[in-house]
Amino acid sequence: MNFPKQHEIHTRRFGRNLGVGLVLAAFIAIVFGLTIVKITNGGQVQGLDHAGTTITETNE
C-alpha cells in the first residue's frame, strides 16, 4: 500500500490538536488543584440548597 507523503497541513493540524489537548489537560489539573485547596482550607463545598442547615439537622 502506498501512503502519500505527509503534507505541511498535517503537521500544522497535529500541532494545533496537541496544543488544544495540552490546554485541556492543564485546565483539568487546575480545576483539580483548586478543588483540593478549597476543600482543604474549609471553603464552602455545599450548594445553596444546603444553606441554613447544620450537620445535626441533616443527620436527623
Binding site: 503534507h7 493540524r13 500541532g15 496544543g19 483548586l34 485547596v37
Partner: protein
C-alpha cells in the same frame, strides 16, 4: 487519496496554534500578568499559591480574550496599517467570526473561572475591564476622540486592581492608586512614541492627538500628565503598600521623568528633527523602565516585609 487534494484552498488558510495565541496579544498579556501579580502579592492578605496562580492565569485569559475581540472589531483598520497588517485576521490566517467566537468564549470562561477560583468582585472587575476595552474603547471612542489613548490606558490599568480584589475581596485606596499609576503613565508613554514615529493612523482614520491638535499640544499634554503621574506615584508611597524603598525609587524616577517631559515641552519640532528626536526617544525608553520598576519596587516592599524591612 488524501484530503489534501480535495480542498487545497481551505487547507492553506488553516491556522496554527500559534496564530490563535497571537490573537490574544501575548505582549499585552505579559504586562497584564505582571501588574495583576503585583496587585495580588502586595495585598495584606495571604493567598494560597494555587488560588494565586489560577487567578493570575484567568485574568491573563480575560485580557487575551479582550485582545481577540479588539482584533475582530479592528480588522478593517489593521489591514491598512503596516504595524498591524500581519496580525492573524488581516493576514487571512483566522476568519473574523472565528476570532469573535474565541474572544466571547474565553471572556465568559475567564470571568466565571476567576469568580470560582477567587471571588465574584474580582470576576466582576474582570468582566467590566473586558467590556470597557472592547465596547467603550475599541467600538465606541477609539475612532471618535483623540483622547483614545487615555481611555485605552484605563482598560490596561485595571489588572492590579483585579489582582488586589482577588486577594482581599475588596477595593481600597491602594488598589485605586495602582490603577492610577498605569492610567496616568499610558498617555505620556504613547504620545512620546507618536512624536517620533511616522504612523499611518491617518490612513485608518483613527484620530491621534499629534494630528488633531498638533504636535505642540501633544508636548504640553505630555508635561501635564507627567506631573499628575508623579503625584499619583508619590501618593502610593505613603499608603500601606509603599515604604522607603518604593518611595526612593519613585522620587528618582519621577524627577527623571519630569526632567524628560520638560525637555520635550521646551522644544519644537525643528529642534527635535535636528537631533532625530533624541529627547523624545530617551523619554520613551525611560517610560518603559518607569512602570516596570515602580511595580517591581512595590513587589520588593512586599518581599521584604517578612524580614521586618519592607513597608512603613
Amino acid at each position: 487519496m488524501s484530503d489534501v487534494t480535495l480542498n487545497p484552498q481551505a487547507q492553506e488558510g488553516e491556522a496554527s496554534f500559534g496564530d490563535y495565541f497571537a490573537l490574544l496579544k501575548p505582549r499585552v498579556m505579559s504586562l497584564v500578568v505582571f501588574t495583576a501579580l503585583v496587585g495580588l502579592l502586595v495585598a495584606p492578605v495571604g493567598v494560597h499559591p494555587m488560588v494565586a496562580f489560577s487567578s493570575i492565569l484567568f485574568i491573563a485569559v480575560g485580557g487575551g480574550a479582550s485582545g481577540a475581540l479588539n482584533m475582530w472589531w479592528d480588522a478593517d483598520i489593521d489591514r491598512k496599517m503596516k504595524r498591524t497588517m500581519s496580525r492573524p485576521i488581516p493576514s487571512g490566517k483566522i476568519d473574523a467570526p472565528e476570532a469573535l467566537g474565541l474572544g466571547l468564549t474565553l471572556s465568559a470562561f475567564a470571568v466565571v473561572m476567576l469568580g470560582l477560583a477567587a471571588n465574584w468582585l474580582a470576576a466582576g472587575l474582570l468582566a467590566f475591564t473586558i467590556f470597557f476595552y472592547v465596547v467603550i474603547y475599541t467600538m465606541w471612542l477609539k475612532r471618535l476622540t483623540p483622547q483614545n489613548i487615555v481611555i485605552g490606558g484605563a482598560a490596561g490599568a485595571f489588572p492590579p486592581m483585579i489582582g488586589w480584589a482577588a486577594a482581599t475581596g475588596g477595593i481600597s485606596v491602594e488598589s485605586v492608586l495602582m490603577f492610577m499609576i498605569t492610567f496616568m503613565w499610558t498617555p505620556p508613554h504613547f504620545w512620546a512614541l507618536a512624536l517620533f514615529t511616522k504612523t499611518d493612523y491617518g490612513d485608518a482614520k483613527v484620530p491621534m492627538l499629534t494630528v488633531t491638535h498638533g504636535r505642540r499640544a501633544t508636548r504640553v499634554h505630555i508635561l501635564v500628565y507627567t506631573f499628575i503621574l508623579a503625584a499619583v506615584c508619590l501618593a502610593a508611597g505613603f499608603t500601606s503598600i509603599g515604604g522607603p524603598l518604593y518611595l526612593t525609587v519613585a522620587v528618582v524616577l519621577n524627577v527623571l521623568f519630569i526632567k524628560g517631559a520638560f525637555k520635550i515641552w521646551r522644544r519644537d519640532d525643528a529642534a527635535a528633527e535636528a537631533d532625530n528626536y533624541l529627547a523624545e526617544r530617551k523619554f520613551f525608553k525611560l517610560s518603559l523602565l518607569f512602570l516596570f520598576v515602580h511595580f517591581g519596587a512595590l513587589m520588593g516592599e512586599a518581599a521584604l516585609a517578612p524580614f521586618g524591612l519592607g513597608g512603613w
